[in-house]
């Protein structure tokens, strides 16, 4: 199949979606003015489809740090750290992340994607074996494709399947590298890391565990280090990878480890060596965001109370959601067309979510990925749930539900219901008519 065939195939797929409404690949926000608000199609939109878990993108101190560094040191580094040298900020950021994790080493990469591809190619040498969760992110699959090692896939969140696969490799001389994620980005489910760590320990020498905390950094664990911290297995996590593109609110990636000689990876890791380093602005933005994360633990508390409100709220309305309370709430739908219809109607009513349909989803699921931020207000969540209620009923996905005030009394302990005056009335039109029946 040549490039023209591939273009035609994509055109056909998106053409079908476009025929049903908007093309998700062509949405354009004309303006974004807070972590949770933007303009789309000339209308204000509440953002429930970002990875801005802590709302860091508009923190005044973060913004100030980024702009000050850009003014002082320039807009870009124009090269890689190996060829063109590190700036002081790169080194300081690595030292600060090392301290944050209480590990010994850290390497910062240009993005989270690059961090995964870089670490996986560095770890997976010719006679080694990479064992990856079946629902791994594309950057993990791509790293495996690029690595010289063989890749074996085990069932999603299946430590038993991993154990069987490791057993079959007994006597195999190479390293075995197990790769999982903290929170999975589509369904919002967490990895059973204690079980994975036990399987790793059982498998003995030369078996390593790498955890991608992309969606769990700043979200899980006592000090926000992620699922490794939350499940008390940080000592078993040989390589923790993450990104600055979500809770940290900028762009860049990293890996921390206690492996002796870890820094030498910089000299053979091509995705570290052959791409430009983080800009002074993004480095300083990330440093400030880590600082703010430590100074403001209440952001994590807020995030989780918002998670519960959204997850319970959608569940109470009758939507089928993902398996656990999480900043990512998957709304599962019976068919791709229903997902497309719901996604479009939500945007009509001012709620932006992410749509995911096969083959981009595990188990041929059609879903809306609804994500929540510490920056969402109770009122925003209430308004979004009301719109979900009316549009969901209009499309026949859920039964027309209970009264609004009553529902919110349950979800938020009454705070939103008591502050009823702040609540904007549900939008007029056929959608809200359906909700009141």
């Amino acid at each position: 199949m040549g490039i023209k065939d591939r273009i035609a195939a994509v055109e056909a797929t998106y053409g079908r979606l476009r025929a049903l409404g908007r093309d998700p690949s062509r949405l354009e926000f004309q303006n974004v003015w807070s972590p949770t608000e933007a303009t789309l199609e000339g209308r204000p939109m509440m953002l429930f489809g970002t990875n801005n878990y802590l709302g860091m993108t508009f923190d005044p101190e973060v913004l100030e740090a980024g702009t000050a560094a850009t003014r002082a040191l320039g807009s870009g580094t124009t090269g890689s750290r190996i060829a063109n040298g590190s700036y002081g900020g790169h080194k300081a950021l690595e030292a600060e992340i090392t301290r944050f994790y209480a590990k010994q080493h850290c390497i910062v990469f240009s993005t989270g994607y690059v961090a995964n591809v870089g670490m996986i190619t560095a770890l997976g040498g010719k006679d080694d074996v990479l064992l990856i969760d079946a629902d791994s992110h594309a950057s993990i699959y791509d790293g495996c494709k690029m690595a010289d090692a063989e890749t074996i896939r085990f069932r999603h969140n299946g430590p038993e399947d991993l154990a069987r696969k490791l057993k079959r490799l007994e006597g195999h001389p190479g390293d075995k590298i197990i790769i999982v994620e903290g929170i999975y980005s589509m369904l919002g489910d967490t990895a059973p890391l204690a079980e994975f760590a036990a399987v790793k320990r059982e498998a003995g020498e030369g078996v390593y565990l790498m955890v991608d905390e992309a969606h769990s950094l700043g979200v899980l664990g006592e000090s926000g280090r992620g699922q490794c911290q939350a499940t008390h297995v940080e000592d078993d996590c040989d390589f923790i990878v993450g990104t600055f593109s979500k809770s940290v609110g900028t762009i860049g990636g990293y890996c921390v480890s206690n492996l002796a000689g870890f820094d030498a990876i910089r000299s053979f890791c091509r995705p570290y060596m052959f791409t430009a380093s983080m800009t002074p602005g993004t480095v300083s933005t990330a440093r400030a965001a880590f600082r703010r994360m430590a100074e403001r633990p209440e952001l994590r508390a807020r995030l989780w109370s918002n998670c519960s409100a959204l997850y319970r709220g959608l569940g109470d309305l009758g939507f089928e959601t993902g398996p656990e309370v999480s900043p990512v709430v998957a709304v599962k739908l019976r068919a791709p067309e229903i997902a497309v219809a719901l996604w479009n109607r939500l945007i009509d009513e001012g709620v932006y979510t992410n749509i995911a349909i096969p083959p981009a989803t595990p188990n041929a699921l059609s879903l809306l990925r609804v994500s929540v931020s510490a920056a969402h207000t109770e009122t925003q969540i209430e308004r979004a749930l009301n719109i979900f209620a009316s549009v969901g009923a209009e499309l026949g996905i859920i039964e027309p539900g209970a009264g609004r005030a009553e529902r919110f009394h349950v979800i938020t302990g009454g705070a939103a219901a008591k502050a009823g005056g702040r609540t904007r009335p549900a939008p007029q039109g056929p959608a809200s008519a359906a909700a009141t029946t």
Binding site: A134, C144, K145, E150, R153, K165, P359, A364
Partner: protein
């Protein structure tokens, strides 16, 4: 060690159970093009084969496979038995 015919028969049985009834699955069936399974479902089918034959099937081996017969050859080559 199972024979090539035996392996092929077991793969055909598992695959037939997985695809829609109106597709006849034979040793020459192209697993992606002819079965209506998407790429993710094919990968999940491989998980079933790994259990069935008690082997690990590396991803790069799957990339080379087109037909059921190719898959059976790969399974045999990887020591598929049980």
């Amino acid at each position: 060690m199972a024979t090539a015919d035996d392996i092929e028969a077991r793969i055909l049985a598992l695959l037939t159970a997985k695809v829609k009834q109106d597709v006849a699955v034979t040793r020459d069936t192209n697993i992606v093009a002819d079965t209506g399974l998407d790429s993710v479902s094919v990968m999940d089918f491989v998980l079933e084969l790994e259990d069935e034959f008690d082997i690990n099937i590396p991803l790069d081996r799957i990339a080379e496979v087109k037909t059921v017969a190719d898959l059976a050859a790969a399974v045999q080559d990887l020591g598929g038995s049980s």
